[in-house]
Amino acid sequence: MNQLYPKPNPIREHELLATRRQLFGGSALGVGTAALAGLLNNDLLAEESGVLGATHHPAKAKRVIYLFMSGGPSHLDLWDYKPKLVDMFNQQLPDHVRGGQRVTGMTANQRNGLPLCPSRYKFTRQQNNQDGVWVSELLPHTAKVAHELCVVHSTYTEAINHDPAITYIQTGSQIPGRPSLGAWLSYGLGSLNENLPHYVVMHARTNHPEQSLFNRLWGPGFLSSEHQGILMRSEGDPVLYLSNPKSVTSGDRRKQLDALAALNGEQHKRFGDPEVLARIQQHEMAYRMQTSVPELMDLSDEPKSTFELYGEDARTPGTFAACCLNARRLAERGVRNIQIFHRGWDAHGGLPREHGSQCRDIDQACAGLIRDLRARGMLDDTLVIWGGEFGRTAYCQGNLTRQNYGRDHHPRCFSTWMAGGGVQPGITYGRTDDYGYNIANPDGTPMDPLPDKADWRPGTMHIHDLNATILHLLGIDHRKLTYRYQGRDFRLTDIHGHVIKDIIA
């Protein structure tokens, strides 16, 4: 996390050196260690901005809470209402609709071909600030905050399997090795709170853990490893190694740290390496985290109304609802970047059972989070994002009945929503064809969003566009937040990305 002393930064080093001279100039280690820690605290930790220093333009959002639905939620059963599919039940997906789209190995050769599969769920039109948005009965609570949401129906990707797709949306590349969105933000913007990690990742419990997650999804790639996401866990220590060993009290630790600072002061006197001073500071910050994190995780100060808002689940550590509540508490304390991963959306078969359970996990908490942030005046500068790595097919995988079915992976279009943080509330963006299979023009005819990789077509939101827009809302020009690695100035959006201005308030 906080690295006071990034290797290739001579200016920073110069400052450290100067501070060292002030502290130790000529004399022996004369400052008491507590005083030393205090001095260091004031002198060295005054600011902790990222590489950008100032944002490229005024930021609309100060922080992000990203609710990641891993596995690919079905846009057709949640957000993208396709009534015409009802009459096409069990008909084969027409070739002209498929348009040469590749199909995964799981449905390419299935016996029943590609039979169209209407959603069994009832959709209702919710008031928003335009002409309304259709929401499935699976999300009754979220439906009630529809006026806060910007629902994008035309998110798309090229990847068709989980590992590449989730790596792609999180890092801008399908192949491992690039920094994650959160790491880029940490690198660019730094931290708002020195006593907590600046990029926090939580894994929410699910009844359907049939996906894997990978360190790389919140990893630093080729950026310095201080930018990696820090897991906030519901089992054991919330932050790894946070608690002292049994029978070591906070008072014991204080004495140990005083001794440690004195020993390191000796080391510094001997060799003069400024990193030693920076480390003394990190030990102190760790000590403060041992108070700030338990305080953060202690929900006893939350009134009953909080649990009415998020649901009683929020009392159980590790649930999605508890993660959402933690996210709000982290956001309040200045954590800039919070991501919750909820697995289990990969409904190849038995979609109603699985999505039913998944939606029960998240629905009330999503709505609760939005309302809570609104009530606290935080929604305006907190960007909340909900979405997965791809959508699901309009055709069925496996046996098809009106009541039960499965759906395969679908990269060509899927639904994502955003709220707060400078996004226009209560709108929808983009649309799909009557099959929910292709992004469509306003008249409903299928549209190729990528006739040429260089161009962007209004009404579409490639995952690079999504990431470019997220960065934009945080005050970052996605083309300018770069890091030179192997001769190339890499960025999150590779050479692509278009800021979708139409959804920005």
Partner: protein
């Protein structure tokens, strides 16, 4: 509060200091500007922007006459379009809306360059290295001479030599990843002869820990992991490769051979087991078997990964750009990328791993170094037996005929089974015994992934935009990157040919890239500060002549790694003090006017603790070990079908093996490794970041294994030293290779007294503390005293005197 007036050193000012005259150096000053600011459009991929897009990456392109004139006109520099455009306000280059604009200094360099004739030369890294003439005879002296010259130009010189104890610790850590053992240290400190240091170095070079430590760097580079990496991230049988790397370094296998075996061991005549294990390098790419994944797509992705890793590890540059289009900066056409890829496109494994441990082709091999030794011995016995026994008369005529043409194993069987003269002889009994033993040992073998070619090569074509389903153009022959030389004549167009090219003395990059990384591990930073990029966008070497000298010398020595390390650690540059200097301002230590200091790597931190507490288990090789890890870390992320979904912690002495052997699950490596900057091993890493975070503090002070180390170190101090003073000194001698200073003594004493009082008042808590970790406590010792000492030990183990190199 006064400080000396600093001499500010930066790359450009340094260059200016050294360039006595005003002549612009094309390679160092001009090319980086052209590459960074112009080549995106006017570089190797210019055709992408139209047939008539002018190219500035060669003299021919820049000086070509067109309707509008020449970009560079050596006859009339002032008329050069390049100058007109970079100074134009109406029609500037780069265009006003370009992301990268020229700075004033850059414009000035370009102007002077064109005015001086606009001469081009090849980028330094594509020119074969050569040794410049030097007055010094020995390489050690050459290194110091070249370093000193640059220091002198900047008005400074070496720091004084480090004190002997510090030097001993430093060299031991650099070579073996552990501080010097107590007897070795004492021997060195007492040996006042001029050869004392050399003797110490030799002992370290022959320590088995040498190979274990050096292997780590290579395993980072080749992205070694114990799992497949993608999707289920299942177990993969590949650890014999890791153990082979350790053996190769310990046996000082010449590095050209080391590389050849890895790229093409299977293609060598009568390939040995070792040579085939080494080809695990080719199989190291992460792989998947995700339901629905498309085989052709992963055939392409696996090949991209292998080609680009080769680029990073041996060519010191990214080839990734050329996957989709001709490289924007470096002269690497897309076709050549796919030619290079073609070397790897014909390996026999399926493109999907099937989630299998034995993701074939695999080879059955011994499980660890001890079993290797046993196997070697059996082979030696076998060879002795079959070579000693002249079969004449002992075998039947048929058997005798066969004996001359078959392998040693077959011969042994003939001896064991014959019914002719040797029947029932001692020799036959010995042969039978040997056959049986070898069979027995073989049964215990494990499997390791190896490379093997298909009988008929796969066709390779350029993939348009790097899309697996858009092959285009004619099938391509395997081939090389032409700016890096010629493919050697009369060499097969397969991986063996590739290895021959890479290890030929004509190759401009491989030896430089390797030598630079070895310099980096000895001095903390490379001569090229971008070890992953020697291309046009990379940093120029701080000491180009030195890099070249060492690269050539390395080849001339027979690619002798130990010799290179021996040389480097004998230099004044290495032996000087690491104390930061206040008289010069060179925070990046580009002048090497002090030795390096930095926090030690994750593995070294753990090994150092295990070693000093007496817990370290020296067993070498074998399947990855699983020390303590917080519960649920894998489960929270893994697919339920994954066979690495739950972490089954090891028990007993497997908890205390060197960190090289810690199980490497690529999607979730051990947290104490990643916390201290270890890479995930999903992609190549040739330089780890070195961070300093508060979470590291928590790990250092609270992690179970470290708590366990602390109490065992405490016991050891109490048992092996008579009083508290001596104990503190003993700990410092182990961790810092010196006695504690008076101040350190005082600080430790104070904490010790505080802790003694604290645990004396709560003896139950002392016992509880001593119950952390699996290893039994020494019940003969007073728990209060051990607990108090363990709290001091925790601090000593976490202190910068222990965790840093200096």
């Amino acid at each position: 509060m006064k400080s000396a007036i600093p001499i500010l050193i930066s790359l450009t000012t340094l260059a200016t200091v050294l360039e006595a005259d005003d002549t612009v150096n094309f390679s160092r000053e001009v090319l980086p500007i052209l590459s960074n600011k112009c080549f995106v459009c006017h570089g190797p991929d210019a055709a992408e922007y139209g047939e008539d897009m002018r190219r500035l990456d060669s003299a021919e392109g820049a000086m070509a006459a067109t309707d509008s004139g020449r970009a560079i006109d050596p006859q009339a520099p002032a008329k050069s379009l390049l100058l007109l455009r970079i100074h134009s306000e109406d029609d500037p280059m780069p265009p006003a809306d370009a992301e990268k604009q020229l700075t004033r200094a850059e414009r000035s360099i370009l102007t002077r360059w064109v005015e001086q004739g606009g001469n081009y030369s090849k980028h330094w890294a594509f020119v074969k290295p050569r040794k410049i003439n030097r007055p010094e005879k020995e390489t050690v002296a050459v290194v110091d001479g070249l370093i000193a010259e640059r220091q002198k130009a900047a008005g400074t010189s070496f720091s004084p030599e480090a004190d002997r104890a510090t030097l001993a610790r430093r060299v031991a850590l650099v070579l073996t990843g552990l501080p010097p053992k107590q007897d070795l240290l004492q021997q060195f400190l007492q040996d006042r002869s001029p050869q004392a240091y050399s003797r110490l170095v030799e002992q370290l070079l022959s320590d088995p820990g040498f190979g274990e430590h050096q292997a780590r760097y290579w395993l980072d580079a080749v992205r070694y992991g114990d799992t497949h990496g993608l999707h289920l991230d299942n177990r993969r049988g590949i650890y014999p490769y890791r153990d082979w790397v350790v053996r190769a370094f310990n046996n000082n296998l010449p590095i050209n051979t080391f590389l050849t075996w890895q790229l093409a061991g299977d293609l060598l005549p009568n390939a040995s087991m070792d040579q085939r294990i080494a080809t695990g390098f080719v199989r190291m790419n992460p792989s998947t078997a995700e339901g629905g994944a498309i085989p052709a797509e992963f055939q392409a992705k696996n090949n991209f990964d292998r080609t680009e890793t080769l680029g990073t590890v041996l060519l010191g540059m990214s080839l990734t750009c050329a996957r989709c289009h001709t490289h924007k900066y470096d002269p690497i056409p897309q076709t050549e990328y796919y030619r290079l890829l073609a070397f790897f496109n014909s390996t026999a494994e399926s493109s999907m791993d099937g989630n299998k441990y034995e993701y074939g082709p695999t080879l059955k091999v011994p499980r660890d170094q001890a079993e290797w030794q046993q196997w070697r011995n059996l082979q030696r016995q076998r060879d002795q037996l079959v070579n000693d026994i002249p079969p004449a008369g002992g075998l039947s005529p048929d058997e005798e005929k066969k004996y001359g043409s078959v392998s040693s194993d077959e011969r042994l069987k003939l001896l064991a089974n014959t019914k002719a003269g040797l029947a029932n002889s001692d020799v036959q009994q010995e042969a039978q015994q040997l056959v049986a033993t070898m069979e027995q040992v073989r049964k215990g073998f494990t499997s390791t992934l190896v490379a093997q070619d298909l009988p008929k090569p796969r066709e390779t074509r350029v993939l348009r935009r790097g899309e697996y389903n858009l092959p285009t153009g004619d099938p391509l022959q395997p081939g090389i990157i032409s700016v890096m030389g010629q493919f050697p004549a009369e060499t097969p167009r397969n991986r063996l040919g590739l290895a021959r090219w890479l290890t030929s003395s004509d190759h401009p990059l491989v030896s430089r890239v390797l030598v630079n990384r070895i310099w980096q591990r000895v001095f903390g930073d490379g001569l090229v500060r971008t070890p992953e990029d020697f291309g046009l966008q990379g940093q120029h070497p701080t000491h180009p002549e030195l890099l070249d000298w060492l690269a050539v010398d390395f080849q001339e020595s027979g690619w002798d790694l130990k010799q290179l390390l021996r040389t480097l650690v004998h230099t004044k540059t290495f032996r000087q003090s690491s104390t930061w200097r206040t008289d010069i301002e060179d925070p990046e230590n580009r002048l090497f006017a002090r030795a390096a200091s930095y926090r030690l790597d994750a593995e070294v931190l753990r090994d150092l603790g295990l070693w000093s507490s007496g817990l370290l288990n020296p067993h070498m090789g074998g399947e990855g070990v699983k020390p303590y890890q917080p519960a649920g870390m894998w489960l929270a992320m893994a697919h339920p079908a994954s066979n690495t979904k739950s972490y089954q912690r090891d028990k007993g002495d497997r908890l205390y093996r060197r960190s090289l052997y810690v199980y490497w699950k690529r999607t979730s490596p051990h947290p104490m490794m990643t916390l201290f900057d270890a890479p995930d091993r999903e992609s190549s890493c040739v330089r780890r970041s070195r961070t300093n975070t508060s979470l590291q503090s928590l790990g250092l002070l609270n992690e179970t294994q470290r708590t366990e180390m602390s109490r065992k170190l405490a016991e050891r101090l109490i048992r092996e030293s008579p009083d508290d003073d001596a104990r503190i000194d003993y700990a410092y001698r182990m961790l810092a290779s010196r006695d504690a200073s008076a101040k350190e003594q005082a600080v430790c004493h104070r904490l010790l007294q505080q802790m003694k009082a604290r645990y004396a008042a709560a003896p139950k808590e002392a016992e509880q503390l001593l119950g952390i970790g699996e290893v039994a406590r020494d019940k003969s010792l007073d728990p209060v005293e051990v607990a108090a000492w363990s709290q001091v030990a925790t601090i000593m183990l976490a202190s910068d005197a222990a965790i840093m190199l200096y």
